[in-house]
Amino acid sequence: MYKYDQYDQSIVDARVEEFRDQVKRRLAGQITEDQFKPLRLMNGLYLQLHAYMLRVAVPYGTLDGAQMRMLGHIARKYDRGYGHFTTRQNIQYNWIKLSEAPDILAELATVEMHAIQTSGNCIRNISSDQFAGAAADEVADPRVWAELLRQWSTFHPEFSYLPRKFKIAVIAADEDRAAMRLHDIGIQLIERDGVLGGRIFVGGGMGRTPMIAPEIKDFVTADDLLSYVEACLRVYNRYGRRDNIYKARIKILIHELGADEYRRQVEEEFVAVKALGLDPPKAEFDRITKMFAPPAFAAVGPQADTAPNPVFDAWRAQNTVAHKQPGYAIVTISLKPTGGIPGDATADQIDVMADLAERFSSNELRVTHAQNIVLPHVAVSDLHHVWSALDAAGLAPANVDLISDIIACPGLDYCSLANARSIPVAQKIATRFADPERQRDLGELKLKISGCINACGHHHAGHIGILGVDKKGTENYQLLLGGSGAEDTSLARITGPGFSEDGIVDAVETVTNVYLEKREAGERFLDTYRRLGMDPFKEALYG
């Protein structure tokens, strides 16, 4: 994985001192809260309902054991002993003191981490496929491109006061595990005539106006990547709407201009920009590529001789997938225990995961946008051992991609924007469907909950989505069906009138019963919905 050199380290260290100075000036009253806000936001520091929340960047979701351990240390020392892994592959802490935030950044910098641009109207942490470097179906490791973009976007002088936040994802497989087309810019690496390049999609997003990004360019090589995205961003910075925060994302600009006109403007800008020599030389691409070389895979021994264990077998079947290296597996650690808070992990659990990564996964972990953790390189012969350790730490729910593997935003329990709580709804649904056999029978079912229209819980992309709204002072939940953040990207549709907190749990059960009754062989919930449409589900809910 990527390691800092003296330059990377010097930039992050300078940032710590800069933020320490900004906090000092704020605490001394030299700058107003209004002026401080964009500065703290560009360091991932939000003022929430009860305290400051700090969001720490995990670039493209990749980290090593020492970095993971540091996340546990921060949870223990500066928070209440836990952290929350997010849909942006980051981690956030909910109980931070402003005066301690600079010390936290200083501690993070000792392990090559930071909170730069994890919020604010700038280019956010670049996200990627959590199976990058391990997936059997990738054409290249997308993190090389993501790292080029990370460096380019860090303190970009022209694009730090954009009309609105800006999210970029890079994938390198046909199977999309990163909701690529629901980003402001999504890049899919492909090979054409033996040359690696990226398809560039621009203008996707969720929020209150969900849109699937159209393809703006069919092929951009690594030599032109930064100039091309520079052109994409410059058109947006100049012409994106600034009169209305709800219409300020690039998706609205592209919707209003049309993809063809936006593309024409980008191409024109690209000609001007390309002449400036903004793109690093191939040697830089090669330097980064070398750091993402596959780990040294050991000759794989026979699987440990253990007594048959149906619980382990179920976990292995549900939470591991094939690795590109024979004899290895990719393990997904579910942070979705029945009745738990999706994405939360205690400091002790974080330490356990760090330890397992160091011992069994070439010292690598990944954070997934579904708020789980991945051990990307585990020898099949070690799986039983890894499972035992996870199970002892309460980290072995065998529910990846099942109905209880819920994405949920923090909701009204924490967030100052929320209209309704998300966490209790997630807990009640997971409890209702706690029976593992019942979950497995329902099969792949991506359920996503947002506590307000901003859609941090990705409800638009849920096979089943839930949107919390405020209805005359009472929390009310709308049900949506048919979304997907995968390669078959689609936006979910609202079924009809909303439900109470308990009513939405019943409603979810009702639509899953329709599926069980009507499904054809091999169909997932989403497939049945797509075949039948909304009517039978509506009939069962409201008929």
Binding site: Y7, I11, E18, P157, E158, P163, R234, A283
Partner: protein, 139 residues
């Protein structure tokens, strides 16, 4: 950045873009509002001594692109950031090609000095000539 680059260089009042293009074609100082197209000035760069770019709010980042467009086109005259210009933005402004500032609120000189000198390295090539780290790495 030395102190002289911080001062306001030209005393000639800047005319609006419309006036510059239509009536006052002998003016040498022009003011761009945030939403105006910097490229409209490109045919006239050789006779302009000052371009003043307005920042109506520190949140409005259009002026950064306007500055780069002018510098990338070879504009060598004074480029002034005027308006809601805050000390923590001035490094980015300088990197985009601004070389003078007319902030609405007073700026503490020591804070500014620290802000402009804090970073030894930058990741991107921009309009200020600073060498990006990829160039330092590979020559």
């Amino acid at each position: 950045m030395d102190k002289s680059a911080m001062s306001i260089g030209s005393d000639e009042p800047a005319v609006t873009l419309d006036a510059f293009l239509e009536d006052q074609t002998n003016a040498t100082a022009v003011r761009l509002e945030a939403g105006e197209d910097a490229r409209a000035l490109l045919p006239h760069l050789d006779r302009i001594a000052l371009v003043e770019i307005s920042f109506p709010s520190f949140r409005d980042g259009r002026g950064y692109s306007a500055a780069r467009i002018l510098r990338e086109a070879g504009y060598k005259g004074e480029l002034r950031a005027q308006g809601d210009v805050l000390v923590d933005q001035m490094l980015f402004m300088k990197r985009c090609g601004f070389d003078s500032f007319a902030p609405e609120a007073e700026i503490d000189a020591a804070t500014l000095e620290a802000a402009l000198t804090r970073y030894d390295h930058v990741y991107q090539k921009a309009a200020d000539g600073q060498v990006p780290v990829w160039k330092l790495r590979h020559g």
